[in-house]
Subunit: 208 residues, 2 copies
């Protein structure tokens, strides 16, 4: 369960989980084949699985389905989670309009925005609410996770509202850097991904 697996191991297992989702359960994969698919050395994969527990295998490798169930059991990925989105801009509405298809693991159940007009005008299957109702709605709808897609200056307050509603984890796409000791927060920033990328390219000659 959660006897503190190394963070990197968790991250790799998530990656593996993803490719397994899109694969026939009967497929048999060696650690080497799997490694090619996710760009991870075979021995690292074996070590990860070894540290995480005991997974069934044969002399040909692992069955996709069994591996999937194993990771599933580890993190309980099977159970669906309720997710809300704060900020109905271009990015926020992209989550609402094309909900993530990950074996139904995540269900977007509500959207919030300070702009009442937007809420009324936008048509969506997902119910939309004004931002000030956030804490209450999160509580009454028993929402587990929040996606923040608001401008930087509103990010901190949005997080507070989500916390107040009792949310367990936040994925923050705003430019603000959020963090909290009580709940899990993950910051994702596009420009920064680009920047990190360029920092990793050794001989990038920059033109105009």
């Amino acid at each position: 369960m959660s006897f503190q697996l190394p963070v990197q191991t968790v991250s790799r297992l998530c990656l593996i989980y993803r490719v397994l989702l899109g694969m026939d359960r009967e497929t048999v994969l060696s650690s080497a084949k799997l490694g090619k698919l996710v760009n991870i050395p075979a021995h690292t994969i074996r070590k990860d699985l070894s540290v995480a527990g005991k997974v069934k295998s044969s002399n040909a490798g692992y069955k996709a389905g069994e591996l999937l169930d194993f990771i599933n059991g580890l993190f309980n990925f099977g159970a669906p989670l309720r997710v809300c989105v704060a900020g109905i801009g271009l990015l926020g509405s992209s989550f609402i309009k094309n909900p993530v298809q990950e074996g139904g693991q995540f269900i977007i159940v509500a959207g919030f925005d300070t702009n009442i007009n937007k809420i009324e005008v936008m048509k969506s299957d997902v119910p939309l609410f004004p931002a000030y109702e956030m804490a209450d709605r999160i509580r009454e709808m028993r929402i587990d996770l929040g996606i923040i897609a608001v401008p930087a200056q509103a990010a901190e307050m949005t997080m507070q509202r989500m916390k107040e509603g009792g949310i367990k984890g936040i994925l923050n796409f705003s430019p603000a850097i959020l963090g909290d000791k009580d709940i899990a927060v993950r910051n994702v920033h596009f420009a920064e991904e680009l920047r990190f990328l360029t920092a990793m390219i050794p001989d990038l000659e920059k033109g105009v």
Copy 2:
């Protein structure tokens, strides 16, 4: 320069760079204050700066502007880079419509899509081209970086086209996992960020 700084250090320096960008150059920051802003322990920041080189400081800390210049010099973040976007869906067009404002570091100069209709209908300041022209356009426009926002099945081919055009780095938002030995590739997957988040929450009780 690029005498292989630890990956994590690079990542943290990018984060620091981000907060510095939105700050008065004259602000003086101690490693502790800076640490609070980015959720990194003070000693880690000092160590990072120390392995990266020699940055000016006083008994009160670092001047934002000088720190910025230092990181800048390290990775040459000052020079603008030309970026293109493949796939003009909801996500792709969000890059084209609200270009990242990061001190003009990234300039979106072209968009590509297989759907010719979309290209003709959509109005945008950024020129849009059919996907099959990708390699040629990238070459002639001297584009440095590519953002992939196409469906999974088109991702691999898109990467090949970008490589063919001579691109240096790719930020991949498609569900496919891309990797290449010649160019830098970074995969970003929203559902997976959510999944990782939940995996890190120890006592997440999952309801319906």
